[in-house]
């Protein structure tokens, strides 16, 4: 296990103007599983190749532990990359593919044979030793590719979208395999994905990249609760954003077009902010009943709703047009069981589309982050 440290790493592809990886600083602690997350073209695969030593960084420093590997060629870096489409050598059978790294390290053939057998057992590839890659299924190919990387016992394992070419069932299987490998092998894993759910599921820490720059890095929960920017919030499917202006005279208050909201003291200077609040944090009550306890109450109109089994997700509109998602975790609890005859879902009528409801946004569940002054206002006007 080893710490991977990046400092100010920058790379521009020859013949292009804009850096594909722009001043990235990032740390993966020993034994950590770090996800490089971002939309396609954000530079995450390029960053992985820089860590692998397959591209030379223009600037900055890459450290494995205390060792500066910035100028070390890929084959002596002790980091192995597994590519997106497995890249098994088609002219070699499974055993020889797995043995490749050890053969290049000129290990004695008896040792190679033993290590290959061990990997074949670990990856449940028994009986496929003499098959060609073209005779394997997608999941088997991916397991061979992993075995081929792990057999050299790298300090760092780099995975480029390792599961994206697999169907849903195999993907779950492979994810579990990677998680169990992480526990049984002493290896720091950095993997690239565009799938935010996959990153949350697997990673100890996520680094979200846009346009070659790290937007935010931290544990997965942080991206939901405390997004750093609007793009981060939206990438994580957070659509509950309200534009306002923070002023902290005495208590912290955010002034919006829909009234003033109390927020728990954000570590921010006064000025334009976004308020973000998770759908499940918003309290909702029928419009004809007394509003829930507490401040930050606001009336809204239900636009549509989707049953999610035990829960219901509502899309509601505030008076001035901003739309919020609200999750009703106990749809018929205290509010009666008057099933709506036309919904067909057995849902009570009080949160039917076009009904008025009362919302309450608990101050401690509102997260504020800086807003570019012009952001958010234009679209409010558009909606009106």
């Amino acid at each position: 296990m080893i710490r991977v440290g990046l400092e100010d790493v920058t790379y521009t592809y020859p013949g292009t103007d804009r850096p594909a990886v722009d001043a990235v600083s990032l740390t993966a602690e020993p034994g950590e599983l770090v996800a490089l997350l971002g939309p396609s073209g954000c530079g995450k695969t390029t960053l992985l190749k820089l860590i692998a030593g397959l591209l030379p960084s223009d600037r900055g420093m890459i450290r494995f532990g205390d060792r500066d590997v910035t100028a070390v060629p890929a084959e002596r870096r002790d980091a192995v990359m597994v590519f997106q489409n497995h890249l098994l050598f088609p002219f070699m059978n499974v055993s020889r593919n797995i043995a490749f790294g050890l053969t290049m390290r000129k290990r004695p053939s008896a040792e190679i044979a033993g290590e290959v057998r061990r990997m074949i057992a670990l990856m449940r590839l028994e009986g496929l030793e003499t098959r060609r890659p073209s005779q394997l299924s997608g999941g088997q190919r991916q397991r061979v590719a992993l075995a081929r990387a792990l057999v050299v016992q790298p300090q760092v394992l780099l995975l480029d979208e390792p599961f994206s070419s697999l169907d849903a069932h195999l993907r779950d299987e492979m994810r579990e395999l990677v998680l169990s490998l992480k526990q049984s092998l002493d290896v720091t894993i950095i993997f690239v994905t565009h799938d935010q759910e996959e990153a949350v599921l697997l990673a100890d820490r996520i680094a979200l990249l846009f346009d070659g720059q790290v937007q935010q890095a931290g544990p997965p929960a942080q991206f939901y609760d405390r997004p750093a920017t609007r793009r981060v919030a939206e990438f994580f499917g957070n659509r509950n954003l309200i534009a306002g202006t923070l002023s902290s005279r005495g208590a912290s208050i955010v002034k919006t077009n829909y009234g003033h909201f109390a927020v728990s003291a954000p570590n921010l200077p006064d000025g334009p902010v976004w308020m973000s609040v998770r759908p499940e944090a918003i309290r909702i009550a029928p419009g004809d009943q007394p509003a829930p306890e507490g401040n930050n109450r606001v009336p809204a109109t239900v636009l549509r709703r989707i049953s999610m089994g035990m829960r219901i997700r509502c899309r509601v509109a505030l008076e001035s047009g901003v739309e919020l998602d609200v999750l009703i975790t106990d749809p018929d609890g205290t509010h009666g069981t008057g099933g709506s005859p036309d919904s067909g879902l057995g849902m009570p009528a009080w949160h039917e589309p076009s009904r008025t409801v009362q919302l309450q946004l608990p101050p401690h569940r509102i997260h504020c982050f800086p807003r570019n002054g012009s952001e958010g206002l234009a679209e409010t006007q558009l909606r009106q």
Partner: protein, 276 residues
């Protein structure tokens, strides 16, 4: 996996067309050649010769016919042309098949121009250069002349191979601990070898069948099989024409068998020839 399919099918189709062409062009005309080479006298309208004779084969084996010398020259020139074409054509094909660079279209036009412009049209200019260089009427000069029509084919085959080749295989090898040279040896070469062999066979056959270029640059001093064959054809000696023709066809038949085996069998590659 689908992205591999298109180029593989293209290469396979190319092979099938070439093989079918060789079978039709080589095997069918060979039958009358056998009869001719064994005939003592054969005139219209007889279906078969009146007399059979081994005269042409005996003369073929004697030094007086210069067949041995011509065969030796043909083999040396064709092998040398191939030996020069491979190291020139493989990197050129890689550059054209894999990379995008400024002036690529112009480079392609220049490389493939000899496929369109007849070599005969430019050979007099080339001959002046060869005379200045002092290699006109030598085996080396003839090899240079043969490169004109042969090299474009090598580049063309290798460009097709490399356009279906994923250079990330090389990165994968490096990442697994292979040095630059080990990567070339253990990954790149096995991946493109079937293509290199195909291209080399093309080049050998093109050089083998050159007549006019050999005659002009060789100045009559370099005798190859086609030059000799033409002499017998113009002399009207059907028996000798048949015998030399069969000798001339031999490597083509051999290559047909070799490449058919390569296509039918176990050859594989990152080049997209896998499973062909």
């Amino acid at each position: 996996m689908d992205e591999w399919r298109a180029p593989r099918d293209r290469i396979r189709a190319m092979h099938t067309v070439v093989i079918a062409g060789i079978v039709i062009a080589v095997l069918l005309p060979a039958i009358p050649l056998v009869i001719w080479s064994l005939s003592g006298g054969w005139w219209f309208p007889r279906l078969l010769p009146e007399q059979w004779s081994l005269r042409s084969w005996r003369y073929l084996a004697s030094p007086a016919s210069r067949v041995a010398e011509a065969t030796r020259n043909s083999v040396i020139i064709a092998l040398a042309t191939t030996a020069v074409s491979v190291p020139l054509g493989v990197p050129a094909g890689r550059a054209l098949g894999l990379y995008r660079f400024r002036g690529k279209r112009f480079a392609e036009a220049l490389v493939f121009a000899p496929l369109i412009v007849p070599a005969l049209a430019v050979i007099m200019g080339v001959q002046v250069v060869l005379i200045r260089a002092g290699i006109s009427a030598t085996l080396g000069g003839v090899v240079v002349a043969h490169l004109l029509p042969a090299l474009p084919y090598m580049v063309m085959v290798m460009r097709a191979v490399f356009s279906a080749y994923d250079p990330e295989y090389e990165q994968q090898a490096r990442s697994l601990g292979a040095s630059r040279w080990e990567t070339l040896l253990h990954v790149t070469v096995p991946a493109v070898l079937p293509g290199v062999v195909t291209g080399a066979l093309f080049v050998f056959l093109i050089s083998w069948s050159q007549y006019a270029l050999t005659l002009l640059v060789g100045g009559g001093r370099i005798i190859t099989l086609p030059v000799l064959l033409f002499a017998f054809v113009t002399a009207g000696d059907h028996a000798m024409t048949g015998a030399v023709s069969l000798l001339f066809l031999a490597p083509a038949l051999l290559i047909l068998v070799v490449s058919a085996r390569m296509l039918g069998g176990r050859s594989a590659g990152v080049s997209g020839l896998e499973g062909v």
